[in-house]
């Protein structure tokens, strides 16, 4: 008698969410099985990589990042082009760091203009992240939503404190909302219920579950993401069936292990490799727990992760 591999049947499907428009439109989600379990169901879209572009030249970044990205750091448009043309990014993630009220406190109009310029410069979808300041993000993202209306943006993070205004803006201009909750299955779900009850279609939501990098709480994020996915697939829980986006570049490069050079830690080995691996390992771990969009920073980490995803998807 031959051995038949046991196959777990699921009841639910992750929603397909479309970002961008026209030829540049990109669909994420759509899985009917756990990540890469293609023997149990389908995974119509491989996890997408959204490469980060900052609207203001980042300061104090570790050498490996500065060395890899070099002179584009001061020019968001050139940076975005390099990500798409040279590194093959599936999407661009504009980090509106300039709007931080504790930093430059740039006005919403200026931020919106940058997003406009990036959208015009590339033919891939763009997701936009504010700084996490609920009040300022509301103003900024509203402005971005109404400035860029010819394509579907991903707008976030929308939290319990500002989801109403951001959802309203996204609703009006047809954008996708990134709902951020603090590493908790129920809170992620609650935010989705609140937003859909305002009339936002469920296929215009991405879940940002809040994640930690390797060594900095990734196991919590992993478990919560896995549980969200299990609820979505096994219990057919409609309010957990949104694709997940992980804003991981900033988390990975915040880790001391990715940041410090040999001068500070002479025994930790080659800084460039170490930083790249920290980001890549974080990203690959998160794809294993259900990430559909990975927000990443280093081109070499992006290349490594893409190779891993392709090989995993090939079975």
């Amino acid at each position: 008698m031959s051995f038949t591999e046991p196959v777990k049947k699921t009841n639910g499907t992750i929603r397909e969410v479309t970002l961008g428009s026209g030829d540049g439109a990109y669909v994420v989600g759509g899985e009917t099985a756990l990540p890469f379990h293609t023997f149990e169901g389908t995974m119509p879209h491989k996890p997408a990589i959204a490469m980060e572009v900052f609207d203001v030249a980042p300061e104090g970044w570790p050498a490996p990042l500065v060395d890899a990205l070099g002179d584009v750091l001061a020019d968001p448009v050139a940076w975005a082009r390099a990500c798409v043309d040279t590194y093959g990014a599936d999407m661009i993630c504009v980090q509106l760091a300039s709007t931080d009220p504790h930093g430059n406190d740039a006005d919403p109009e200026q931020a919106a203009a940058t997003v406009r310029a990036v959208v015009d410069a590339v033919d891939v979808p763009v997701v936009v992240y504010g700084t996490g300041n609920a009040e300022k993000d509301t103003e900024v993202l509203k402005k971005v939503a109404e400035t860029v209306t010819d394509t579907v943006l991903g707008l976030g993070p929308a939290t319990e404190d500002n989801y109403k205004a951001i959802t309203a803006a996204a609703l009006g201009y047809g954008h996708v909302v990134i709902m951020e909750s603090p590493i908790d299955v129920n809170m992620a779900k609650q935010l989705n219920i609140l937003a859909t009850q305002m009339g936002l279609p469920a296929d215009r939501i991405l879940i940002d579950p809040s994640i930690g990098a390797v060594g900095y709480g990734i196991e919590y994020a992993y478990t919560v993401m896995e549980r969200l996915r299990l609820a979505a697939l096994n219990q057919n829980d409609s309010m957990t069936q949104m694709p997940m986006i992980c804003n991981l570049g900033k988390e990975a490069w915040r880790a001391k292990e990715a940041r410090v050079g040999l001068d500070e830690e002479p025994t930790w080995g080659d800084h460039a490799k170490r930083g790249v691996l920290w980001e890549a390992t974080t990203a690959i771990s998160l794809t294993m727990s259900g990430a559909d969009v990975l927000v990443m920073r280093h081109p070499e980490a992006v290349r490594l992760v893409r190779t891993a995803i392709d090989e995993l998807a090939a079975g």
Binding site: E160, D184, V185, N186, M187, K189, Q190, I193, L194, Q197
Partner: protein
């Protein structure tokens, strides 16, 4: 029970005799403007009595012509027999279609008799009772000692063996025996699990005057009932703030206070003083001499029981949360400083765990649960929500910290359920105008637990708050405004409030209530899950605690505090702790049953239960993150939303 019919809504509700007409309208969900809490000053709740008779008070707000037409102010009108009233259009707060429903009845609050009926009839005697002992007088041929004579008689006449008789009693015996011509009344105490004792004597037969005091030692309020041990009747009851409140409002603060220098003695003194005052009050009320009080049975939570007996509760507070004792030995009333016969004894209802006390055990016994075949859920709603699930064969319990919201604590304008506390709230869905009723129909001073539940449920149904309890800032309503603490909902304007300031509900208040209700629901669901039991299999739900007639069960379910079950499965027991103490004082079998309940109940410690936090977060939403658990609530919400969209 009288029927009250409201026209033109054409709905009828059944109310208790003498019920306030405005309350009847609230019960029927007939919306009538009322902003003064029901003290007759706003003059808005006008109704026209068309048939039947009512008892009403005149009001300067009504003209002679109106009075002649049958106009009354509903809040100062009581229902006498069946009555039919018409609501004039000017008494309606808005234009919303009526949500009124017929056939609703007041919550069944079980009376002492109702409870009695749930408990098997016992004819046994009290655990502490007076027994007449008749001895053969001594002579030269029968020259055994007085004590031996007594012990022999006790064994022959009352089947009491191995009786402990302390030296104080022996000292009194020679005189009392001879004064009573060798017939004496002995104060016999028969504790559960230890030797019987005779703690004193009286000459002759004094059994006619045997009284006991049942005591509920609440963290906030102490309540005492005087019970005639011969008839079993409750002669008088009284309640008073526990004087320990001055040392902190909650249990934890008291535990901390007890650990300070002399703190324990101070706290014990305070509660003893409170109970002594109450004992004197009920005795004088019933014209009973305190000397004839021979027993106290006290039920309290574990910390209160410790403090009452002067035992340090400090280790209850810290992991691994260990109490000094679960079952305490009986003590002399005199030693504690309580009034009564010098031989009077004090027993306490055992406390199964640090956070599951004798009050709950007493409540469980009073509700008849330990004899019931039905799967019963017993919920005591307070700062600590205690939940017991089981039937006559098994009991499982847990305790969850709900915070003080249900008692008005942590709420900006919150107060205890005392006179002037808003206890019922209805909100017009079109204008968001509140309709309020306060306890004793007094000028409103604040809001208590049931009012808070009503208000949040109404705001939710009206769409004025979202599922997170956040007020909708975009709603154009004079009742929603920016206050000192962010957005707030105005329940009572400053001109109509008894405090001179507006009574409002802030978003923080709503959040606190949601947390409190989430803790209760999480406790219930974790308990059921731990037994792999579906909550719809619960046959009966008994709700204990201060909430009674006016806690609106449908609204309690709407906010997701208790599982959605058919209303007829619910009953209210009021102060179950006191009721249980009364049962235990009348019958030793009952006291024994209470001990057995305390021994057999399985306690689930939620502080180490990972599922609890999970359940708590998912319940911290209106009504619940898993909306399939509350289909009725979701359906109501849908209907109301349609109404608003249509209006």
């Amino acid at each position: 029970m009288p029927n009250v019919t409201f026209e033109p809504d054409d709905v009828t509700v059944h109310v208790k005799d003498g019920e306030n007409l405005l309350r009847a309208a609230m019960m029927a969900d007939v919306l009538v403007t009322a902003s003064c809490g029901g003290d007759g000053t706003c003059g808005k709740c006008r109704m026209i009595v068309e048939n039947g008779s009512v008892d009403t008070r005149g009001s300067s707000k009504l003209s002679k012509a109106q009075v002649a037409q049958g106009y009354v102010l509903a809040c100062v009108t009581r229902v006498i027999g069946d009555v039919s009233v018409r609501i004039p259009p000017e008494s309606r707060p808005g234009t919303a279609p009526s949500r009124a429903r017929s056939g609703r009845v007041a919550n069944t609050v079980l009376s002492a008799d109702d409870c009695g009926a749930r408990i098997p009839r016992r004819r046994d005697s009290a655990a502490i009772a007076k027994r007449v002992v008749t001895m053969t007088p001594p002579d030269l041929t029968d020259n055994v000692s007085d004590l031996t004579r007594l012990v022999q008689a006790l064994r022959r006449q009352h089947k009491l063996t191995d009786v402990v008789i302390p030296i104080e009693a022996v000292r009194a015996l020679p005189h009392i025996g001879r004064d009573g011509s060798w017939s004496v009344t002995a104060l016999c105490a028969e504790p559960i699990g230890s030797a019987p004792m005779v703690s004193g004597f009286q000459p002759g037969d004094t059994t006619a005057a045997s009284y006991g005091l049942a005591v509920d030692i609440g963290t906030t309020t102490a309540e005492v009932s005087l019970v005639d041990l011969n008839s079993g009747e409750v002669l008088a009851s009284a309640a008073e703030y526990n004087a320990q409140v001055a040392r902190g409002e909650d249990v934890i603060t008291r535990v901390i206070a007890s650990a300070k220098d002399d703190g324990l003695r101070d706290l014990q003194r305070l509660v003893i003083e409170t109970i002594s005052d109450l004992a004197h009050a009920v005795c004088s009320q019933a014209n009973v001499s305190t000397d004839d009080v021979i027993t106290y049975i006290a039920a309290g939570n574990t910390v209160m029981t410790h403090l009452f007996l002067g035992v340090s509760p400090e280790h209850i507070r810290m992991s691994p949360y260990i109490p000094a004792a679960a079952r305490f030995p009986w003590v002399s009333a005199r030693e504690l400083g309580l009034p009564g016969h010098p031989g009077a004894r004090v027993a306490t209802i055992p406390c199964p765990a640090s956070w599951l006390g004798g009050d709950i055990v007493a409540g469980v016994v009073a509700s008849g649960l330990p004899w019931s075949e039905k799967l019963t859920l017993f919920v005591d709603i307070g700062t600590n929500g205690e939940i017991v699930l089981g039937n006559k064969d098994w009991l499982v319990a847990c305790s969850c910290s709900a915070g003080p919201a249900f008692e008005g604590g942590g709420i900006l304008n919150g107060m205890r359920a005392a006179s002037g506390a808003i206890e019922q709230v209805r909100i017009d869905p079109t204008t968001l105008e509140p309709v309020i009723l306060s306890i004793d129909n007094a000028k409103p001073l604040g809001i208590c637990g049931s009012g808070l539940i009503d208000a949040v449920s109404e705001l939710f149904m009206c769409g004025a708050i979202d599922r997170n309890g956040k007020l909708d800032a975009d709603l154009d309503s004079p009742w929603i405004r920016e206050g000192d603490y962010g957005l707030e909902y105005v329940l009572v304007g400053s001109e109509e409030s008894g405090t001179g300031d507006a009574i409002v509900l802030t978003e923080t208040d709503i959040e606190n209530l949601i947390r409190a209700k989430a803790a209760i629901y999480a406790g219930i669901s974790v308990l059921a899950e731990s037994l792999d039991l579906s909550l719809d299999r619960v046959d009966e739900v008994i709700i204990a605690g201060g909430f009674g007639h006016y806690l609106d069960l449908e609204r309690v379910m709407t906010i997701g505090m208790i599982p959605e079950l058919p209303l007829e499965r619910f009953s209210f027991i009021g102060n179950g702790s006191l009721l249980g103490a009364c049962h235990a004082i009348r019958s030793r079998e009952m006291l024994k049953r209470a001990s057995k309940v305390a021994e057999t109940v399985t306690y689930l410690e939620l502080s180490v239960n990972a599922a609890f936090m999970e359940s708590y977060i998912s319940a911290s939403f209106l009504p619940h993150t898993d909306t399939t658990l509350f289909p009725r609530s979701e359906q109501l919400l849908e209907t109301h939303r349609m109404e608003r969209v249509g209006s």
